[in-house]
Symmetry: C2
Subunit: 390 residues, 2 copies
Amino acid sequence: MTTQEVFQILKRDSISIFSEEGLKEKLESGKRLKIKLGADPSRPDLHLGHSVVLRKLKMLQDLGHEIIFVIGDFTGMIGDPSGKSKTRKPLTFEETRRNGKTYMDQVAKILDPEKTTIVYNSDWLGKMTFADVLQLAGKYTVARIMERDDFAKRFAENQAIGVHEMLYPLMQGYDSVALHADIEVGGSDQTFNLLVGRELQRDYGQAPQEVITFPLLPGLDGVEKMSKSLDNYIGVDEEPGLMFEKAMKVPDTLIEDYFRLTTDMAESEYKSLMAEDIRKAHFAYAREIVRMYHGEQAADEAEKRYNEVAKGGIPQNIATVTLPKEPIGIIALVAAAGLAPSNSEARRLIQGGGIKLDNKQVTDTKLTIEGVDEIVVSKGKNKFVKVIFA
Amino acid sequence: MTTQEVFQILKRDSISIFSEEGLKEKLESGKRLKIKLGADPSRPDLHLGHSVVLRKLKMLQDLGHEIIFVIGDFTGMIGDPSGKSKTRKPLTFEETRRNGKTYMDQVAKILDPEKTTIVYNSDWLGKMTFADVLQLAGKYTVARIMERDDFAKRFAENQAIGVHEMLYPLMQGYDSVALHADIEVGGSDQTFNLLVGRELQRDYGQAPQEVITFPLLPGLDGVEKMSKSLDNYIGVDEEPGLMFEKAMKVPDTLIEDYFRLTTDMAESEYKSLMAEDIRKAHFAYAREIVRMYHGEQAADEAEKRYNEVAKGGIPQNIATVTLPKEPIGIIALVAAAGLAPSNSEARRLIQGGGIKLDNKQVTDTKLTIEGVDEIVVSKGKNKFVKVIFA
């Protein structure tokens, strides 16, 4: 793709660009640009929501620009200083580095790792003194920080905002100063923070970065944005069978967005598929996603498996577990097959009707299995384990 | 004075105490207490307004407690990070130390310097990292900081509040943590900041300091609080004659407050003086103030001098300047007598009717003085210089 084509695609798919002229000028300058994307230090599981932005970075990378991921390990290692969040435990230095590596491994599914840089913002923020912090904080007014949507909302609703939280957008913005970023990209929910970076660069005497924000991909529930914690996501690391199945669950109303934002398929192609038969469009989408992340053959297999399961059959090539040829209770069997982390969870699953033996539902927790050479234990619609007694 | 008596005086003269029981308990504990007072690093000129609190510290010092002045040099050396205040220039390290010494010299007029400690808050704030700052800021919410009167007012009026300003009360409060202060005293305008210290100590696992706030002494204008920049002050360093004259200018409506807050005179004594003859009360007050800061003899002389001037006379013991026995223009004479910093200022003074020669007003700027052995040049009501031609 040419610079012009990339610019047109960025313009088409973004929510906003600050500023279009600046972006155009930088792209056409012939300079190798530094393009920044902030990354959460604690959650290395990338999903299709992340891929929206990553795929745009790929285009920019292919034009020869430098992609820089900033892992926000500085705040990650501090945790929640107000001590109110019991869940946000501080990360250790080792954890942030391990997460960074995992992040890079996953990013490599979309970007060329050789041309991608990972940096950790503790490298500069960790060296700042109280005096440096005051200099930074002095560049911004409380009123401007309070304009950030979530702050304004929480303040209006009398919800507590820690004083330290006012510093977070400034820290994120300062990352752009430290990196001399030329462009920063992010989800549209990050617009405020990205613009802080742009303004701080000006305050520190640098050319302000161009900011490009992209739509947030709605999750499979069709309501919330895709996120791991809401379990409405398709991970880029997801195993082909599960990825295909999840992709088939994209709501009809969103399938066009998913095509546009997460695949390279031509608009004319998916639109005609959708017009012809919406179910066919879903199959095409699921195939395309598995193909992108696992290749052609995996896509074929995943589709075949999906069809078998849909028809009530048991798919081929499922995991196997070998147990001693002795009588075993159904609870112990489910646990031994790895379908429940504990006996009590196994009991709950059986009682809830979630477990099948050779594709027949079992709800009697007292059942004993004996005198068979093998049996397929399944959980829900998609988890199958063949148990071999030998 | 006994601990009980001091407690009663603190209770009587303070605006508020947080908490009375806590203060009582600490004072009666027999422990040597650390008593903190924050001090501005840039303005070492103490006046009677400062003396209100310093005199209370003296009582506590006489009970054996440790008085600690915290010079806020950390922010003093940073100046205004927003760069908006052109007047607040950052102080150098040397300036803050010099100011601290001057401060101590003046404080010595009220407190025993041997039992008084001066510390500089850059000693601990200067060592804090960004991570430490976040930990500190995490202890407080934006809403609580915004309760501070001036912030609430400025926010309501859409006046800019720098993000760094939110950190100032926390820094001042952290000083109490660093010092393990038992008690902090201050003017009533500092109540918010002093209470932040109390709360932060709790957050850092210390016993919270007791906070005692005192009324702000109104200045000689009877409107604003006493302050050097408003020129409505009586400095503790002021020369006896001027001190007496300024003290005579305390408004009638305030003389009782001045007696109570700035002298040791018994209430019955000044009340009976005031009832008898308000002018007599003013003289008694002026005498007492000069006596406190300069001794009995200086008070006698200042009173005598005041009376002479009041009667239109020329006081004795005035400064002398010797000039060559040659004709001299009035402008040059005023400047040579040290009553004007420049010829143009001397001309302005003469034209304005502010200059007398031997107690007679002179407004002719062309006047030449010759053929006399000496002449008294005076400016306003109180500045007299005897010029000797020899």
